[in-house]
Homo-oligomer: 125 residues x 2
DNA sequence: TTAATATATGGACATCCATATATCTAAATG
DNA sequence: CATTTAGATATATGGATGTCCATATATTAA
């Protein structure tokens, strides 16, 4: 069971918050996309994603060399509602808008490919 | 300026979250009311309220021996929206419902009095 | 003035947390 | 097999955080 205070503690870090809001908007992203969007080191991103996975805020899915993360499907309604409200209210702020921009601007491993497409695709930058 | 991650860190503690959601619903409460509603020690409540005041999430107002707290009027829209959404989604949970119950059940220093009424009123339990 | 009540704060303590560095696994490729 | 790349993890460290106890301050009552 997800305790509200525990949930908010997961949002209480800029790196995690940016990852979550990005995933809330885009649905599913791999670690390298998040690394590029947030312009942070891969170990740092990975560590925060692991924390969010352990806390059951995110779910991961491996596809070849890449690991894709998305909001956990079992998140309670109140948590989804808070994430939605936060994303709506913060999407205008430069910090978060910049993330989405760096994401769309880069032609890297988009999710939604078939297995064959993913296996044959170029590696992300 | 209120940083989103900083704001969520303020919500990342059960005591503070319960205080904030109660104040979000009730508008203004004094320390003794919160102490009674949450069934926690006065120093503990006072410390967390001081933190929320320092972080500009709460505003305090002294009236005689009592200090009343309320959501800070300068809170940005996105922060108010998140608090609203959280309160809507969590009001059903026993943890938070119990707080409101203990508050309504006690006939203690209600806010909204005039100065004269407050000065002449009985002390809170 | 003395007592009582409401609130705040200082100090001590244990715990948690974010970060950096380095290492490790697994997969893809040649 | 060797190499490269994506990603995870182990460890150490500095710093923040929550809680408790005791005490301090402020206001009101007697």
């Amino acid at each position: 069971m997800l305790l509200p205070a525990h949930f908010f503690k997961c949002l209480a870090d800029e790196t995690r918050l940016r990852c979550l809001l990005l995933l809330q908007r885009r649905g599913e992203l791999c670690v390298c996309e998040l690394t590029q969007a947030l312009q942070m080191s891969q170990p740092k991103i990975s560590r925060h994603l692991a924390l969010l996975r352990t806390c059951r805020l995110l779910q991961d899915r491996r596809q070849g060399a890449w690991v894709y993360y998305q909001l956990h499907p079992d998140l309670p309604d109140w948590a989804l509602a808070v994430l939605n409200t936060a994303a709506d209210g913060l999407v205008g702020q430069p910090m978060f808008a910049g993330d989405a921009g760096r994401l769309t601007g880069a032609a890297v491993c988009p999710s939604g490919w078939t297995d064959d497409e993913a296996l044959g695709a170029l590696k992300p930058a």
